[in-house]
């Protein structure tokens, strides 16, 4: 295997433009899992992003929180302003793996790894985050809820790096993040739900119940319409239009469907007038 170590972001983009088989490495918490056994991966060529200090800090602009390509979960956990203004990001970060994963894992890596269970993606999508993709000489912005095109496939070309994730400010009067796993820490979600309501309307996002983390437009419409919801079962017809859970090693389709309805119902009950 070989490794390319760029000194600047411009050099990283130039290398990627010249060799589109290069695999970017950030915190390595996905790429290095069971590394000694993954012999095929040892023959590939990697692009180390970790030395590009300019990509690390998170920033606040007038209209957004901007996560850098190397911003970690721990960077978010230790920035009190995030917990106040974007509590779902803080909640998601604290529930990823455990401290040793939070200190290394990046938001951008979570997004490009594209697990259907990704906690970071779940919270970011509820806030209407925008993915900033850069290639040599060109910058493109893609709303995160349009980023994924199928199971582990996305609108990122191999010559593009995620250089930032923009999370727009805005008043949200309802915010919910619920992850259901087999234990509190070090557990991948069996079901994840995040929701936020702003003047622009509802965003309801689900994880581990479809090939990608995705928005749930039927549930959003149901909540926006104010139709009375008197129990988890009242959410099922809309939920069935939005998601398609499966049986796998972590859970079953039936459990996921029932649990998503319950988690959403109990999370919104007493918070939203129509959910009683």
């Amino acid at each position: 295997m070989s490794i390319v170590i760029p000194d600047t972001r411009a050099e990283a983009l130039a290398r990627l433009a010249d060799d589109q088989t290069l695999i970017p490495v950030a915190g390595g918490t996905d790429l290095l899992v069971h590394w000694p056994a993954r012999v095929d991966d040892h023959d590939r060529a990697y692009l180390d992003l970790s030395g590009l200090a300019e990509l690390r800090p998170l920033r606040w602009t007038a209209d957004a929180l901007v996560l850098g390509a190397l911003t970690t979960y721990w960077d978010v956990v230790t920035e009190p302003r995030v917990a106040m203004e974007f509590p779902l990001l803080a909640a998601a970060a604290r529930q990823v793996g455990a401290i040793q994963i939070q200190t290394r894992g990046t938001w951008a890596g979570n997004l490009v790894n594209a697990s259907p269970a990704a906690d970071g993606v779940l919270a970011l999508m509820a806030y209407g985050a925008v993915v900033v993709l850069e290639s040599r000489g060109e910058t493109e912005e893609v709303p995160l809820d349009e980023f994924y095109t199928g199971y582990r496939s996305m609108r990122r070309r191999p010559d593009q790096l995620v250089t930032a994730i923009r999370v727009p400010h805005g008043a949200r009067d309802v915010q919910l993040f619920e992850k259901v796993g087999s234990r509190g820490a070090q557990a991948i979600a069996k079901v994840g739900v995040a929701a936020a309501r702003s003047a622009a309307g509802w965003r309801v996002v689900a994880a581990s119940v479809a090939p990608t983390v995705r928005r749930c437009p039927a549930l959003e419409r149901l909540l926006a319409a104010g139709t009375p919801i008197r129990g988890p079962d009242d959410l099922l017809p809309a939920l069935d239009q939005d998601v398609a859970p499966i049986d796998d090693l972590r859970s079953t389709a039936a459990y996921r469907r029932a649990t998503m309805a319950r988690v959403l119902y109990h999370g919104l009950r007493g918070v939203v007038d129509s959910v009683r």
Binding site: G28, Y46, V77, A98, I99, I101, A185
Partner: protein
């Protein structure tokens, strides 16, 4: 197809790195496929850091990278260039007394990793304003102690540190 002015250097299959290990400068050449865990154990013979799972779950390989606990099994060695690494070998034995007294260790497989996370908490007691000891320790699995010994040992160490302060 290259459009840059000067040719970029070829990718490396091995690279020379300098870093600080337990306060001392270290220079060596690492292979591109090497994990920090292997560099420490196989190359530098610091075998205190253990491999349990090799997938970031168990925490037995916990070391500090620039002062933060990380799993050495998930860190490519080339990434520690220019940085600070601290391992259990750098912890003074006298600091271990509270853990021994509380039954924080039995078979010992998890202990080096537990000590590294515990010592990080001791050095940053303000973490306890937002986190519990159990949440901070959740990345260190132990099959023997049932965790009470570990949590009690850290509480006792923090108490002793406060009295000394």
């Amino acid at each position: 197809m290259t459009t840059t002015g000067s040719p970029l250097p070829a990718p490396h299959s091995a690279i020379g790195i300098d870093f600080t290990l337990n306060g001392e400068p270290v220079s060596l050449s690492v292979s591109a496929a090497e994990r920090l865990l292997d560099t420490l154990r196989e190359r530098l013979r610091l075998t205190g850091t253990k491999e349990g799972c090799g997938e970031g779950e168990c925490g037995s390989c916990t070391v500090w990278l620039d002062g933060l606990p990380v799993c050495a099994c998930l860190v490519p060695s080339y990434q520690v260039r220019g940085r600070r690494v601290d391992t259990v070998e750098g912890v003074a034995p006298t600091r271990l007394a509270p853990y021994l007294a509380s039954g924080a260790t039995q078979c010992g497989a998890c202990t080096p990793g537990v000590v590294m996370t515990a010592e990080w908490i001791r050095r940053h007691p303000t973490l306890l304003a937002t986190h519990t000891v159990r949440e901070l320790m959740a990345g260190n699995l132990c099959r023997c102690t049932g965790y009470d010994g570990i949590v009690n040992g850290i509480a006792a160490a923090l108490d002793a540190d406060r009295e000394r302060a």
